[in-house]
């Protein structure tokens, strides 16, 4: 099977500081890879390079259609959650259900708590139908029940032939291959 994400000797430098050099890995269908490292080690930059939002200094990145959940919510604050998510298309109702926000579809986005916003971002990823998920600190601000739902969501996605690349400094639920940065 072909890889959903391939890094080939990728070097990333930001603000003159070398974050990682000649990094190479592949992510195949069903795989999950966690990027780990201390604050400022380049985890988020790696995610943005994978998403094609940041150009690496050298090397090549090959990625399938992907969905990204990071710190930015990208949902219109004044709209109800369901409508705000619908702007990005996809199976919104199912996605809200899977992150436990089905009840809050009519609540304006600006009234959501930090944890609920994080889950709304995950719902957008789940609704996208993209085979490759890029998650930046997906478990931040989540309560225990939400962390379990996140694990179930990721398991379902992997079972359906998807792959997940997550950046997190703390352990994530489930089985992950590890990639250490900043050593």
């Amino acid at each position: 099977m072909t890889a959903l994400l391939r890094f080939d000797r990728v070097t990333c430098r930001r603000g003159g500081r070398l974050l990682f050099e000649d990094l190479g890995f592949e992510l195949r269908p069903g795989e999950a890879l966690q990027v780990r490292g201390p604050n400022g080690s380049g985890k988020s930059s790696l995610i943005r390079v994978a998403a094609g939002l940041l150009r690496p200094e050298s090397g090549a990145v090959d990625a399938s259609p992907l969905a990204l959940a990071d710190d930015s919510l990208a949902l219109d604050r004044e709209l109800p959650l369901g409508k705000a998510l619908a702007f990005w298309r996809g199976a919104v109702a199912d996605a809200l259900e899977s992150v436990g926000l089905a009840e809050l579809g009519d609540v304006p986005v600006r009234l959501l708590s930090a944890g609920q916003r994080k889950r709304a971002g995950l719902a957008r990823v789940a609704a996208s139908g993209a085979p490759l998920w890029l998650l930046d600190e997906p478990a931040n601000a989540l309560d225990q029940a939400s962390v379990e739902r996140l694990a179930a969501l990721i398991d379902r996605h992997r079972a359906a032939g998807g792959a997940v690349l997550a950046a997190s400094h703390s352990p994530l639920p489930g089985m992950w291959r590890m990639l250490e940065l900043g050593e």
Partner: protein
């Protein structure tokens, strides 16, 4: 995606901020008689110039809300990930911004013309010239909004960028509002066309460059 982007701009415009330039436009038009005196003949003569200056300053107000909120909230990133080119996003924003800005500006120009006693036979010419000019101003506002997105004191910088770039529109637009036979309308239209055609590329490149 383009259609829903345009619709989103229009919705966000009429959701509140679209009325701000209108109020500002009318306020400027109301202030001038206080400054130059209530001489009807004088006001009628300078009305076109006043309304154009008011339109230019009104066009400046929305600049900060056009690109920066979407950049900061990751909307531009999510659109890029979905394969929508930054230029297309900028073009959609120009279209959506004009729909929320142009027609309201024209409506308030009618009110402003009445306030300043613009000779009635000049009103259609003013509206045509201002309508074409508002397209150029909308394009310019999006381009300048993208260029200043994420900068400190973006508002002040936006004024310094936008107003000089709008001078050709002002010259030909004001001339076309006053005299139909001068050919100024064609020159104004060509300036507006240039702005509308060029702005998406400027804004798209600026959006890409601001991505960190």
């Amino acid at each position: 995606m383009i259609g829903s982007l345009v619709a989103r701009e229009v919705r966000r415009g009429f959701g509140g901020p679209a009325w701000l330039p209108v109020a500002f436009f009318l306020l400027v038009a109301t202030l001038v008689p206080f400054a130059v005196g209530p001489d009807v003949r004088l006001l009628g003569r300078i009305a076109v110039g006043i309304l154009w200056i008011a339109a230019l300053t009104a066009a400046l107000l929305p600049v900060e809300r056009l690109i920066e909120p979407d950049r900061a909230d990751g909307v531009l990133d999510q659109l890029a990930i979905r394969g929508t080119a930054d230029e297309i996003v900028a073009a959609a924003k120009i279209a959506g911004h004009w729909l929320a800005f142009g027609p309201l500006l024209l409506a308030s120009a009618v009110v402003g013309a009445l306030l300043l006693r613009l000779p009635p036979e000049q009103l259609p010419r003013l509206l045509v010239a201002l309508g074409i000019g508002s397209l150029g101003l909308a394009a310019l506002a999006v381009a300048v909004g993208a260029l200043t997105a994420g900068l400190q004191r973006a508002g002040a910088l936006a004024g310094l960028l936008l107003l000089p770039l709008a001078i050709p529109l002002l010259i030909f637009g004001a001339a076309a509002s006053g005299d139909a036979r001068s050919g100024a309308l064609l020159l104004e239209a060509s300036v507006a066309l240039l702005l509308v055609a060029g702005a998406p590329f400027v804004a798209g490149a600026a959006i890409r460059a601001s991505r960190t």
